[in-house]
Symmetry: C2
Amino acid sequence: MYGYWGKILRVNLSDGTIKEEKFDENFAKKWLGTRGFGIYYLLKEMDPKVDPFSPENKLIFATGPLTGTSAPTGGRYMVITKSPLTGYIAMANSGGYFGAELKFAGWDAIIVEGKADHPVYIYINEESVEIRDASHLWGKLVSETEEKLKEEVGDKNVQIASIGPAGENKVRFAAVMNNGHRAAGRGGVGAVMGSKNLKAIVVRGHKRVEVADKGKFMEVVREKIEKLKKDPVAGGGLPKYGTAVLVNIINENGLYPTRNFQTGVFKYAYEQSGEAMAAKYLIKNKPCFACPIGCGRVNKLPTLGVTEGPEYESTWALGANLGINDLAAIIEANHFADEYGMDTISLGGTLATAMELYERGLLKQEDIGGDNVPPFRFGNTEVLHYWIHKIATREGFGDVLAEGGYRLAEKFNGLEYFMGVKKQELPAYDPRGAEGHGLGYATNNRGGCHIKQYMISPEILGYPYKMDPHDISDEKVKMVILFQDLTALIDAAGLCVFTTFGLGADDYRDLLNAALGWDFSTEDYLKIGERIWNAERLFNLKAGLDPLKEDTLPKRILEEPMPEGPHKGHVVRLKEMLPRYYKFRGWTEDGRIPEEKLKELGLEEFM
Amino acid sequence: MYGYWGKILRVNLSDGTIKEEKFDENFAKKWLGTRGFGIYYLLKEMDPKVDPFSPENKLIFATGPLTGTSAPTGGRYMVITKSPLTGYIAMANSGGYFGAELKFAGWDAIIVEGKADHPVYIYINEESVEIRDASHLWGKLVSETEEKLKEEVGDKNVQIASIGPAGENKVRFAAVMNNGHRAAGRGGVGAVMGSKNLKAIVVRGHKRVEVADKGKFMEVVREKIEKLKKDPVAGGGLPKYGTAVLVNIINENGLYPTRNFQTGVFKYAYEQSGEAMAAKYLIKNKPCFACPIGCGRVNKLPTLGVTEGPEYESTWALGANLGINDLAAIIEANHFADEYGMDTISLGGTLATAMELYERGLLKQEDIGGDNVPPFRFGNTEVLHYWIHKIATREGFGDVLAEGGYRLAEKFNGLEYFMGVKKQELPAYDPRGAEGHGLGYATNNRGGCHIKQYMISPEILGYPYKMDPHDISDEKVKMVILFQDLTALIDAAGLCVFTTFGLGADDYRDLLNAALGWDFSTEDYLKIGERIWNAERLFNLKAGLDPLKEDTLPKRILEEPMPEGPHKGHVVRLKEMLPRYYKFRGWTEDGRIPEEKLKELGLEEFM
């Protein structure tokens, strides 16, 4: 078996047991890696109805077969668990160097079970695995945690996945962080880690990931890198301006959500664009492991010194969506979101919810702590300066905000102002300007999320070809499904979805076949993607998902026409798309998976 | 002679000579100290027409007789020179511990002459005085400079007056800094220090300042401290909320200048008030030497960590006057203004000028560096995050801003939007809400300055008694003159003007007589104040002051009625006050000092 060790590390923090488990190539061919492995173990071993913060929830760190290889962007890992934000599946992806190092240590995945009775970290040095005390690290920021752990194990070259204070304090959108500013961000996976008293996983290895045909593999890798380099996004916009290259594009296209999705045009967008960032604060790019794109930003602020990020999503979430145009304040806020370990999208979405509730009079100054705390007005940068810290530490009204935008809006009787799906805050594209993208939000297994079916590619950017954003034909609905399955495949392989700017489904087939020595067709691989998607859906259904109620979008998106810009007058016609989505998925009319579909996908054991 | 050593240190940086000079009690009785000493030496030794940045300009650091004693607030020193901002006299006051230490070292004042051919610092250890190389400190922030110098001389207890990069780069409103965040701020005294290649003065001493009758003096001191403690401002508002206790008071009174004095009411003033600061960021008070008030703030920001300030003036200049309400951003901006060594009032005033020029279309995006720099919009906090640093380093358009608001407005054909007097930016009181205060601005020897005749005391706060802010009777005009002379006295004594919240002219007489063993009447002391004021005026006249043109206020203040609030409809009726001011001063109708007045004040030697 190539590309895999066939080895899973199982650590039970309740009883301190550490086990090595095996899997064979048949298993690999069915689930491929990362999300695939994760959902398999969750479905197999865990009641999807468990409380996400209970010891019964499992927290899985998993690589893909291309993680740790020289495949372009071959450094990804994922964290899979039951989300405390949505109550459904969470599968959060991260880059940097942790995933590759885990592979170098000889492990394909780690399953963390139970709950330690005091703060601990797991130290993996190839075969040697220890659970160590981390009481002295509790409360530390991510950078301090990494620094102290490197010192403690006496090895600067270890890789670390850890949580900051937000994870410790079970902020429902806490992230798992690695390499300082790389996040497995969405769905609160860091809060689950905190609930287990697990501060960090430290890993070091020297093993090399073997591929089936080294010569052939390198040839394929070179060819795919060439394709990426030639692409105007992967080889141009992303390396030059980072993911924030999207700010101007999305704003000019009129779907840059502004002031909690009240409009799709932000007057001052340019000032927070990747272009402005490059001119004002960028000092260099920082690529993840094996990445030829290198979209990561290293910025230097006079106030803060050197930091990394922000990504497009973070820039928007802490910027336009709060009516804030101060890029320096956004970079600072992003820095501290990383240091505390919080998902910037949900953080920003929660603050935007608070701002709209406040400006509409549902949330009052006395509710948030009286006159002496910064009010939630759109454009008030002090909200960034003050509340982010209070959320991470759950001080004062920060304790309410730490529950996320849905619970906040519910508490203050303004659920219609929560701009999210399945209790997770929406990302940086107003779907009234890309209706297929809207269908993606509504049907995404982890709730409000763009990245698991990035329909902005066809609807705005023209990948793999340009589709009218207001076309809601069968072709569009099928494209959403294809993007969901393809993304599941790319994730499971251990690659970054940004490779879709240049690569297509056949390219992933080439890379995987060359590395693994398999002879799968593109369809075979996409079937794995479909299997993963359906298995995750099954998890959600078993957890209690009510599809017809919850596969939906915020009222504003469905009923309030976009007030200005190129998409003026548009809403998302979800009702016209959703039944066909179910149908093309082979699901029932009420969004459930029939027995025959489960059998077709080889999921009958979970019925 | 008590209270003085009678010793002046003269350091010539051009030829490296160091001299000790003496003065006697007659000299002390005529000029008292600080500003008095400073203006005497400037008039005596220097052509007032010299280029402020030439080696011919002199830079004087001077203490008063109560500096270094236990008199309440007895720790002040002043920096006196020809201002590169106004072209007239600069006399900037600072607290902290430097002044007292200079006295402990056995010196009453230092006269710095000439210009070093490379960066130097002066190290004074009582009698031992050295000029030392400071090339390695050039470019360092104030905190780094202080830290490195303490290390270098091997003594943590030295006191340091230094400049930051702003002074080195001759930013026209650069300050001399001590104790990190204490500034001899106004008029660009730090730029003169920079022009001399003088990075710092380091001082250490162990001598005790002797007073005439120790028992009597301590008794008087205790009595005056009691008075201050009982006063609701000096013993209440100031220690509790710092000088920013004024934010709410001045805003509620409708003269809190907002968006470059376009109005006198800032909607979000409360959020930048001393009260809000205390609740959000304050960790403790930090008093200057011998101060029973302790208005200094130590704040902690999550982003920045621990810092000091901001004062009321800085809060306003970097806040409301820029339309900015983010207190955290203001604290940050203040921190870096201190670290670079810049006067926050002129810094904010310059930025406010830029904002109004920009919003009126006189200053265009292409003028300031194109699309990739933050635009000067009111309320844009990124202006603080970005431009402050560029000003200090004179990078890009920062080089133009470093010249101050007057030269900026002149360059872009908008002089009417420069809100200053004699090329110096106005402080935080719109005189349309306090007309006597306006007369003070117009006649102040250092240009737009509140503190040398704080008419807000009678006109708003009721000290020594309440006067109608729109009374422009003879009594009001005479009060302005009294406040100017009294302040000159307090400055010269080495005390802080905040003692006027509780103390009156007789109290200063008591303190001085007890310390010095003199038997002066209150009138005798006020005469010294009057002498100093007139000598400074004489310096300005010799430097080229055209009184009828320059003893004036911005057009807005004279012609545009206040648009809202308690003073709606008011302007400052300067023309109705100024002739009487000249008359009561004993000056000519065109604002010059007649021979007989100079003789009366013993200034005939400077005729």
